[in-house]
């Protein structure tokens, strides 16, 4: 008799807990806050930026060179959000690409933007295979392509013409350069673009609040003419501590200081979060 009662209690108890939890999960999910959030993720030596639009859509630009991006996404994405609306691969170097492969495997990715440039590497082959296996819409973008996610607009500035299936001597100059606008606030993403690419787009709409410094702050990355036109208030350098390339370059830091740009570095500041309501913006560093 007593045992039967215990069984019943146990069953009812676990059922109640389960229902409560499912209810919590289904109805208690945090609603998307009204700000645009841009996170420059701390992925070591590599680039990765996660963007959450005010209506809760997700964009990921590049993925670093390993699984570090997954841990960062775990921290910045909403609990239970397993979908990314747009993934942008600036160029297929492993420090931008490799982390994205695992992202494709684990998240439901709605669309991929890339250049389609020719580049022989195991990672790039795996990436292409994953995209075709999963039937993910894959767009080879050129300057002028754009997409609206609510009030947020993403616009491609470079490459100027299609480089699909083309071999580029310096793959860095095959990087996608794109901007992100939300009312008066804007961010310019530059991949690993170097002088050659930058000089080609000096006449484009470059002016931006935040600049992701090209090529991890390398000395052959950002040129002064480019910086003069972008005129950012904030520059973010995605770089790892004690990297073997000596990034970021000292004279580059001097140049940014000369133009009174506030510098944030993922090696010193950890993950850099910039929130904006379209008028004002706030920078938060995790370290």
């Amino acid at each position: 008799m007593k045992k039967k009662k215990f069984k019943l209690q146990l069953l009812l108890g676990s059922l109640t807990v389960a229902i409560a939890l499912i209810g919590l999960v289904l109805f208690g999910r945090p609603q998307a806050a009204g700000d645009l959030k841009v996170y420059f993720l701390d992925v070591g030596q590599g680039d990765s930026t996660y963007i959450k639009t005010p209506i809760g859509e997700d964009i990921l630009i590049d993925g670093g060179d390993d699984n570090a991006v997954l841990n960062e996404l775990g921290k910045v994405m909403d609990f239970g959000d397993r979908e990314i609306n747009l993934v942008v691969l600036s160029h297929p170097h492993s420090d931008h690409l490799d982390g994205l492969i695992e992202v494709l495997k684990r998240y439901k990715v709605d669309e991929v933007w890339e250049t389609g440039v020719e580049y022989p590497s195991g990672g790039y082959e795996t990436w292409k295979k994953e995209i075709s296996d999963k039937n993910i819409p894959d767009k080879f973008v050129v300057a002028g392509d754009e997409k609206n996610l609510g009030e947020v607009k993403i616009t491609i500035l470079y490459p100027l013409s299609s480089i699909e299936k083309k071999t580029i001597d310096n793959l860095n100059n095959a990087s996608i350069v794109n901007r992100l606008d939300y009312r008066k606030f804007s961010v310019l993403f530059t991949g690993d673009a170097e002088k050659e690419a930058e000089t080609q787009i000096l006449k484009s709409n470059l002016y931006a609040t935040v600049l992701k410094v090209p090529h991890h702050g390398s000395e052959n990355g950002l040129i002064e003419d480019f910086l003069k036109i972008v005129r950012p208030a904030v520059a973010v350098i995605s770089v790892s501590k004690d990297n073997k390339f000596g990034h970021p370059n000292g004279s580059l830091i001097e140049m940014l200081n000369k133009y009174a740009v506030r510098i944030y570095r993922t090696d010193q500041n950890g993950r850099v979060e910039i929130d904006s309501d379209g008028e004002n913006y706030w920078v938060k560093a995790s370290q």
Partner: protein, 491 residues
């Protein structure tokens, strides 16, 4: 509280005593094997002498017992030396650039931006470290150029005699391999993938650490938090966890019926083994857990100690190095011993006596296992965590439930993707709880101290004292005349 499994070993003395003596001394012989280096033929001679003496002194019971012990010891010593010499006699041409071709034999290990493959090569195995992509799989035959270096002791003791780093292009020249293994690995991969789809990081890696014992993808900062709080064992070694979880499932099913408990446990073990890709650690844990289930089911009719020693001996025949160098081997056996022999002693302590049976048994068996593995953990991880008692008490009770949930997540997501996510939310709560505790307690400045100890005499004293305690408690309970019908550990 009279009868429990621990008594069956000692009560049924008779013939089993000789068996126990021989098996135990065989294991001691293997343990001493690398200290005492004796010529194989010399040992064969000694063994023959002992057998002859056995025939002569068969009627004298104490001499016979002594001879059994001696025989076990000599065979253990001999077997270790035989195995060690055979492994040592394989010579690879180290340090030369070679064209190497080999088949992937183990489950590939992807960590960070690297991939590690174990290849069969010239009657032995080598480990290849190369680029993360493209991925190769079990059974693939790879050809590449590289320089074989001597492997680290850790790999050497697993029979892997060489290490190659290759950044050159690798050519896949074919595909072989055992179909059964292929499918088991495939199941494991699917399981891991579905965990990864349902949980974000670091929860997915942590979940994989809990059930598969793979801590590769757990971020370094979290790993050091586990170290500082003395909780690394929950992710580092799967075997021990699997034993605990299966006991838990058994205890839970035991609420309903004895038969369900036994058969349910066996099914759970089988599912565990297949889903995890059947690594040695989980197979071992599965066998031990099956043994516990059998012990609970059959009660006094089986001699636990003999079966335990027999299984250990068989496993050591396959790899005698495991005894000293395989942490997972040590932990799963010690945890088992602690659970079966210390558990009942702890459950009789005044401070826990009052608990309801279900909680009391779970708590005391877990604690028993913990006590047994503690010295090995200190020795292996080189660190004493002062707050580990607190963190472990806060964490351990949710481990079994978390593991069950992790499995539920993986399986649910295999069936319907969305279902895995819903179960994942519940699992996430548990995983989050553990991680929050570990992260916050590791911030306490005095949380842990590093002890790099290479001496092991204190462990001998520790285990000797535990052994004495078990022995005296057995003697005591044997002297207690009144016997209570239902054995306490049988739930």
């Amino acid at each position: 509280m009279g009868k429990s499994i621990l008594r069956h070993g000692s009560v049924s003395i008779g013939k089993s005593r000789f068996m126990i003596a021989a098996l135990a001394s065989f294991i001691v012989g293997i343990f001493l094997g690398d200290l005492i280096n004796l010529d194989l033929w010399w040992l064969v001679g000694v063994a023959a002498g002992i057998i002859l003496a056995l025939v002569i002194f068969w009627q004298e019971i104490y001499r016979r017992l002594g001879l059994f012990i001696l025989l076990g010891l000599v065979i253990g010593l001999g077997y270790f030396n035989f195995f060690n010499n055979r492994q040592g006699s394989i010579e690879l041409s180290y340090g030369e650039e070679l064209a190497i071709e080999g088949q992937i034999v183990g489950h590939p290990d992807f960590s960070g931006s690297q991939a590690n493959y174990i290849l069969s090569y010239e009657k032995t195995k080598i480990r290849l470290t190369t680029a993360r992509y493209p991925e190769y799989h079990y059974g693939d035959v790879l050809r590449f150029k590289g320089v074989i270096e001597e492997s680290y002791p850790y790999f050497f003791h697993q029979g892997i005699l060489g290490q190659v780093y290759s950044e050159e292009t690798i050519e896949k020249t074919g595909h072989r391999g055992n179909i059964l293994i292929k499918y088991i690995y495939l199941t494991r991969d699917k399981f891991e993938e579905s965990l990864n789809r349902s949980l974000s990081e670091p929860y997915a890696s942590f979940a994989a650490g809990l059930v598969l014992g793979s801590k590769r993808n757990i971020p370094d900062s979290l790993m050091s938090d586990f170290n500082r709080t003395g909780t690394t064992h929950i992710i580092a070694v799967s075997g021990y966890n699997v034993t605990i979880i299966i006991i838990w499932i058994g205890l839970f099913l035991g609420i309903f019926s004895r038969k369900l408990k036994f058969w349910g446990s066996l099914v759970a073990i089988l599912i565990f083994v297949i889903m995890t890709g059947a690594p040695a650690s989980v197979i071992r844990a599965g066998i031990l857990a099956g043994l516990i289930a059998l012990g609970h089911f059959e009660g006094r009719r089986i001699n636990m100690l003999i079966i335990l020693l027999l299984i250990a001996s068989l496993m050591l025949l396959a790899s005698p190095y495991a005894l000293k160098y395989d942490l997972s081997f040590q932990l799963s056996f010690l945890a088992f011993v602690g659970l079966v022999y210390l558990g009942p002693i702890i459950s009789k302590l005044k401070i826990i006596r009052w608990m309801p049976n279900f909680f009391k048994n779970t708590f005391s068996e877990t604690l028993g296992a913990q006590i047994m593995v503690l010295p090995i953990l200190i020795y292996a991880f080189g660190r004493v965590s002062l707050i580990s008692p607190i963190t472990n008490i806060l964490i351990l009770w949710v481990i079994p439930a978390s593991m069950v949930l992790v499995f539920a997540v993986g399986i649910a997501s295999l069936i319907i993707n969305g279902l895995g996510q819903i179960v994942g939310y519940i699992g996430w709560l548990f995983l989050k709880y553990i991680i929050v505790i570990v992260e916050n307690f590791s911030k306490i400045p005095w949380a842990s101290y590093t002890i790099k100890t290479t001496s092991w005499w204190w462990m001998v004293i520790f285990y000797f004292l535990i052994g004495l305690m078990i022995y005296y408690s057995k003697v005591k309970s044997a002297n207690e005349k009144k016997e209570i019908q239902a054995p306490v550990t049988f739930g």
